[in-house]
Symmetry: C2
Subunit: 904 residues, 2 copies
């Protein structure tokens, strides 16, 4: 326990393990100080003071004042400057800092300790009048906003200080703040103070101590502002953690030509290359580097030369106009290099550092783990293992599973300029270029003719599956991240931009209107599924690959993880791809997609429209050989691994055409009157198809469908076993809600299996299990496990039914729910652990109470989501299953789940 | 424990408490024997023998044979007849008898012990050749069927014995079995035996002992036939209960004019009147009385005279042709009277008895509690309490709650002949006559003009509500017991026949076709909602009432029950009616129905089509005063009781017209272009509206709707409190799935309540709670109970989501599910205790873990279902809520729940 009466820690008194007491930033500044890094002196007021402040009705605890005074004295001693002394003024920054970073949620006050007298002292000391008055007017503005509350009260209001400044710029007829003179800034400071007086009826505080206490209180109060509260609720941060306050001596990079400021990475954040990489400006403030007002220079000589080369600037010109820090301030550069090496060694990670050189003296203002691209993250992690800096487990833990997504889809060549015309939802990652087509048939036709197409629809439906498969990418003007287009595209690993409302798609005229622009059928467009951008023309792409460092890192993840990783795949091609990505079998092979291809749909429709069991049998016997071929291909691709095949699931009307043209075509093809086609289609129409006649309900009312599918599966298996291959079918009955349903379906499957095996005198090992996707199935899992040989949680449907949300319709309220914090995120992407998770837990527990070795997996889209995978690991599932392109993500996430569990 | 080696009990050795061992029938015959009632001697082979029989591969245990031989000897001694002795043959009946009655599921053999020799002895003894041969051919036929398995193997096959008999009748050119002569019957017996020989290759057994063992084995085997197994599965009867076998001396009522047979009730089963009531025939078999081949006579003189009077037969004629048993056999009649009194006293319930008089000697063959109408049941129960025969608790337990339904709707005058043209589903009980109309507007218009109408639709939708209210009854050709029409009609307590597929309803021609018959708009038809009958013409009805004995019995039920009983009511009229029926408040007042009336729908549509919040506010302000008036009326009707008001629930598109005509009318009324009407209607269309933008999701995205409804509620409440009335609003937020939804809605309600109360300076006590109807709400009830002040389980939606069944679409598979035994019954009528029940239990437990006094109710349709009410009682709910006409049923069922729980 910390000393309960010690409220203030000098940086030199703390370390990085004291985050609870000093907050993240405070602990880090202390750590750097301990490492002998040149950090401006400072101290931290603890998070406990924040709690006391709230417990006692916004008052400071007794003893705090004295400890702060002593700490400031220590700062004065260390810096040789004096707080409030115009001759040699010490200015301070006052910042929040909670246990975990809450970026931008709380308040900061900079340059505290300044007043008119100090301004004049500063002018004397630096000779820079403009610098001094600008510092002052900035301080008044910031303090006025943060401490005194003079800020816009709604989105429509303007900032009161900006109004005054805008008025002055108009009077002077100038555009930029930098055009204001020292005199202007002095006048502005005075007007700002008038504003405070008029609004609050009190003078702006000139006393530095009054300023300091005002700022400390304001930072504490910002812990309870609405933004911070919402952020904490969403991120599950307890409000009694409190925030610390960091008070630190200000340093300035803009006090002359022997001053500079910069930002650097200890390795290249784009590629991971082990080179020092950064930018700086002389006589500038830190924000100038970031803001891009002036173009910053490269820090290293090599960097500078590379930059010059790519900008076709010769060496003489480069040295004259864009010299490196290495050349310009060699002593400080060398010091910086030794500091960065020290920091990287110390933190054992690539660092993002901020520094300032004030009058020739280097100061480090911040170090933190640097953000990086996925490729860089992997290279850095693998390199650091080679360098002996970290171990494999640490390397694996360093890569965020979600990041891998960037590496798993073709990407646009970054060197080509994009002409973006609209932006929709980034529904399924990838990069695609193609000619605009407006319906599935055209997509298939043109694609067969060798053209690349983008299927552009208001929204898609299951009838479009063929066209979606043929297209390079899918673009819709309606529907969210969970719309049919989005879900199917992700399943196919196909690029999709959905819900792009700016597009007016006109099927009749065959045009897409975007504002004034009109695109015609056949025009080239490109889609970026990672950003949601829709662009004009054809943009070249770079293909994804898993090799080298990437493959190495994933193999380390495989050593750590306990969960198996399977894939959701419906075709041999997908199966092969998933296997390349590391899938250990198929967790969900949907059989319905197989019925949409070629003339299969005709046989399928014949089956649906049949009047009696004989008619259905006849049509089914046409489908049987096709299904058998499908299964042979998939079993071959997944040889040696289990293949979970789900029996027919969707409502039958999804296979029937609903427009008059297609209906009359079908009537001709099948030799059935159009009236009968219509009346049968109408009879199959449902109010809520999601909750209708589908899943095993079909297999119960039409057992012959189950029999045909089982026959196809076992004939395929027998065929391959005969060739000496290792085939492991796991047959999955969908939408089971009562054990009796599964029992009836299993009877048919077992009987059919027996017949096929007897006929061929060949034995095949297989399992029969069920999807747990109806809440009742999870609740009665102990009954169902008496029949099921495995469970697979179908969390898409389970989420729909547990929440009562139709995925297809949730677009009308779900975004608002997330925005209002009712839900932490889209429950169709991230498993709702609180609610739906209970059913997974109940289902697994009850299932295993009957059969302790029951194999339990998950095959909803959540199977590829890292937080959901962590939950599955915790709940004791055996495997997750996800789309092929998510397999590497899942492998890594499953390893993380194990690493995180050891952490707790 | 019974003696493990005693397999056979003589009737005189058993009693009525031995049902487990002797079966129900055996125990009852034993009990009568003990009471000194003249019962033909017999014995029972125990249920344990049945179990042993199965355990040992269908063999009889050692020792059984000897015990049976001894028992038969006892019979011979008692009857003075001898088994297999042609001179004085003892014939036997062999019947099954399980612990509980399984009517018609198992097998029986009668007249066992007969063979050709015995036939000749019988002829000698009785002089009745025809009787003897007829007995023999009947025995061969029955034994052939039951023991030898010579019966039709499928529905299409004919009975092989009947084929032979039909052939003979054709040869003789006669119609009736009774026209066959003794010679014919002898020949038939011989042909029947030939059939056995040809089919089975063995002679028909002539040895009475062989016959007896054959019959005993057959009865045991019938315990495992498919019918019996299915029956047990559905009724949850363990298969190891087994059946007993009852062997009893046959007596004959057809051995001459001093023989008779009859059936009687100890009180009138139709009215409950305390008179002896029954029918008999002389020289006849028991089945002749029931089969109606001959018209039976009245047993009592008074009954005979009443019967003669109503058939306009004079006394002389009556005495000559239809004399009573009282006159004809006064001695046996007096004996019968004393027996029936003894039995009724002994069983303390109205008895249904069967008797036979053989050669002047009275034998009782059966006594059991008699079936009776609901009215009779109540009168008998109340009378028996007055007579001191039973106590109030027993009286209450005697009435099946479901029976009350008969008494709670107008019924057709039973004296009028019905001309039934079709039969649909008995969707909502009641009797209604009216003129055919085909749409809701016509229904309202004609009804306003004072006409009575039957709204006849293919199916109904929420737009038809107004018309449904105006109509006398609703008839649909599509949709099941849970279709919109059925559910809404039951809610309204309105007669409805649904899914009457034989009707072809043609909106365009305005006709209903039934086969060749064509009905036109305006034709009178009548509906019987209790039988599903559709009848031609207008049939007069009798209104329901609760008074006298009925009211008395319900008041006794109220003393016993622990559950409160509320009603689901949306109007003051329904509220008044429910209160008369004993409702203690409203558990569910749906507010959406209020928006369909008159010009409210226009304002509602204006609200829905509004482009922004201002437009919605404007429309809502038109709705506010109307809602306020609704609530004033309902609060007044339910003064002193809580009124639970559910905020707007259905998806908005339900309020919009979907056909072109209505859309263009709406476009004119609202001054909005038809394109906009269409595009807005399309935008609101959902794939699965059940899981779409409805319930509190509306209140979250359009908080102004919640605010308007809260304002209307509190203004109404304040208005009445000002008048000194006792008003108790309980505001219910629908479809909550996360606590935050409820929190946001409660904030609005509380804020609005505060404003209204402050404005009027009047305080109103109120509660805010939620429906638990989404599985996630039940699973996270501990979170939700931190905000909710009450829970009400909406088991309709909860059942839909827990099973994943859309009520509107389940007709395509649910009937088959019930028929195949996958579900024990319609889960929308009878709560699924195994699955959905778990969520009720979890929700209640988690809710009370936070607030031990949390008020918990149920307001789905299950609130009126007796088995579901028993579950609610067991789960500790505070109240159930059901439609007004179910309130008396629920009061009684809630009392039964308490009585049953004491039983266990």
């Amino acid at each position: 326990m910390a000393d309960a009466t010690k409220f203030v820690y000098l940086f030199k008194e703390g370390n990085r393990d004291m985050k609870e007491l000093l907050g993240g930033k405070g602990a880090n500044l202390a750590e750097m100080t301990r490492q002998g890094i040149p950090v401006p002196s400072g101290f931290t007021i603890t998070t406990e003071v924040c709690n006391k402040y709230y417990q006692t009705g916004n008052t400071f605890p007794q003893g705090l004042e004295e400890q702060v005074r002593n700490a400031v004295k220590d700062l004065e001693a260390g810096t040789g400057m004096s707080f409030g002394n115009p001759k040699n003024p010490l200015l301070l920054s006052v910042r929040s800092g909670a246990r975990v970073s809450m970026p931008g949620m709380m308040d900061t006050v900079l340059k505290l300790g300044i007043n008119e007298e100090v301004v004049r002292g500063l002018i004397e000391k630096t000779g820079d009048e403009r610098f001094a008055w600008d510092s002052y007017r900035r301080f008044i503005q910031m303090y006025g906003d943060v401490v005194l509350g003079l800020k816009p009260q709604s989105k429509d209001e303007e900032d009161p200080f900006e109004i005054i400044m805008d008025r002055m710029k108009k009077e002077r007829d100038i555009q930029l703040d930098t055009q204001l003179t020292a005199g202007d800034l002095e006048e502005l400071s005075s007007k700002f103070k008038d504003l405070v007086r008029e609004n609050l009826g009190l003078s702006f505080p000139e006393d530095p101590w009054e300023q300091l206490w005002g700022a400390v209180g304001a930072v504490f109060r910002s812990w309870m502002n609405d933004r911070a509260k919402t952020y904490r609720r969403i991120n599950d941060i307890p409000s009694d953690w409190g925030t610390a306050v960091n008070v630190q001596a200000m340093v300035f990079g803009n006090m002359g030509e022997d001053c500079a400021t910069g930002v650097a990475f200890t390795r290249d954040p784009a590629t991971g290359e082990n080179i020092f990489f950064g930018e700086y400006l002389t006589n500038a403030q830190g924000e100038d580097v970031v803001a891009g007002v002036r173009t910053p220079y490269q820090i290293t000589l090599e960097g500078s030369r590379r930059w010059a080369a790519s900008n076709r600037i010769d060496e003489e010109e480069r040295y004259r106009v864009f010299p490196s820090l290495e050349e310009r301030m060699p002593r400080q550069y060398q010091e910086l290099v030794s500091v960065y090496r020290k920091l990287e060694q110390h933190y054992a990670d690539m660092q993002d550092i901020e520094f300032t050189i004030q009058n020739g003296k280097l100061w480090l203002l911040q170090t933190r783990n640097g953000k990086r691209t996925a490729a860089a993250a992997i290279k850095i992690a693998v390199d650091m293992v080679d360098e002996g800096l970290i171990d494999k487990r640490k390397a694996v833990s360093r890569i965020k599973p979600e990041q891998l997504d960037q590496l798993l889809h073709p990407t646009f060549d970054p060197h080509v300029t994009r002409e973006t015309i609209a932006r929709g939802l980034p529904a399924s990652p990838g990069a695609a270029s193609g000619k605009i087509v407006f319906n599935a048939e055209d997509a298939e036709e043109r694609s067969n003719a060798g053209e690349k197409v983008i299927l552009s629809r208001i929204e898609t439906s299951p009838e479009d599956i063929g066209g979606m498969k043929s297209a390079q990418g899918i673009l819709t003007s309606r529907g969210g991240m969970t719309s049919h287009a989005a879900v199917v595209a992700r399943g196919m690993g196909k690029c999709c931009v959905s819900g792009c409302g700016a597009l007016k798609i006109d099927y009749e005229r065959r045009t897409i209107k975007v504002g004034e622009l009109v695109l015609l059928e056949g025009d080239w467009i490109s889609l970026d599924g990672s950003t949601g951008e829709v662009m004009l023309g054809k943009i070249p792409t770079i293909p994804p690959e898993i090799g080298g460092d990437f493959a190495m890192l994933l193999s380390w993840a495989d050593e750590i993880r306990r969960l198996g990783v399977r894939t959701n795949a419906d075709t041999p091609i997908d199966s092969v791809r998933a296997r390349e990505f590391g899938a250990e079998g198929i967790g969900l092979c949907r059989t319905e997609h197989m019925f949409f291809e070629g003339d299969r749909i005709t046989a399928m429709r014949e089956m649906i429209l049949a009047k009696d069991i004989e008619g259905r049998q006849k049509a089914l016997s046409k489908l049987l050989p096709m299904q058998r071929e499908d299964f042979i291909g998939i079993f071959q691709a997944m040889e040696g691994y289990p293949v979970t095949i789900r029996l027919l699931d969707p409502p039958l009307h999804e296979f029937l055409p609903h427009d008059a043209d297609s209906q009359s075509q079908m009537s001709r093809e099948l030799g059935i009157s159009i009236d009968e086609v219509r009346s049968r289609t109408d009879a199959l129409r449902e109010f809520n198809p999601m909750l209708g006649h589908r899943g095993c309900r079909l297999g119960i009312t039409f057992p012959e469908i189950t029999r045909m599918q089982a026959e196809a599966i076992f004939e395929a298996a027998v065929h391959l076993v005969k060739e000496g291959r290792d085939v492991r079918p796991e047959i999955m009955v969908p939408l089971v809600g009562t054990v009796r349903e599964l029992e009836l379906q299993k009877d048919i499957i077992d009987e059919t299996a027996g017949e096929v095996m007897e006929r061929s005198a060949i034995h095949v090992d297989y399992l029969v299990g069920t999807m747990i996707e109806v809440p009742r199935a999870a609740l009665t899992a102990d009954e169902i496990a008496q029949v099921a040989q495995f469970f697979s949680f179908g969390t898409n449907d389970l989420t729909q039914m547990t929440f009562g949300y139709s995925r297809d319709d949730s677009g009308s309220f779900l975004p608002e729910y997330i925005q209002k914090g009712i839900l932490p995120g889209d429950p169709f992407k991230m498993l709702d652990q609180t609610g739906v998770g209970q059913l997974l837990e109940i289902g697994t527990r009850k299932g295993r109470s009957v059969d302790p070795k029951l194999k339990v997996g998950i095959c909803g889209e959540h199977g590829g989501d890292p937080s959901s995978i962590e939950f599955c690991n915790r709940t004791g599932l055996d495997y997750v299953s996800c789309s092929p392109f998510r397999v590497p993500v899942a492998r890594l996430a499953a390893a993380h789940a194990v690493l995180n569990e050891n952490k707790v």
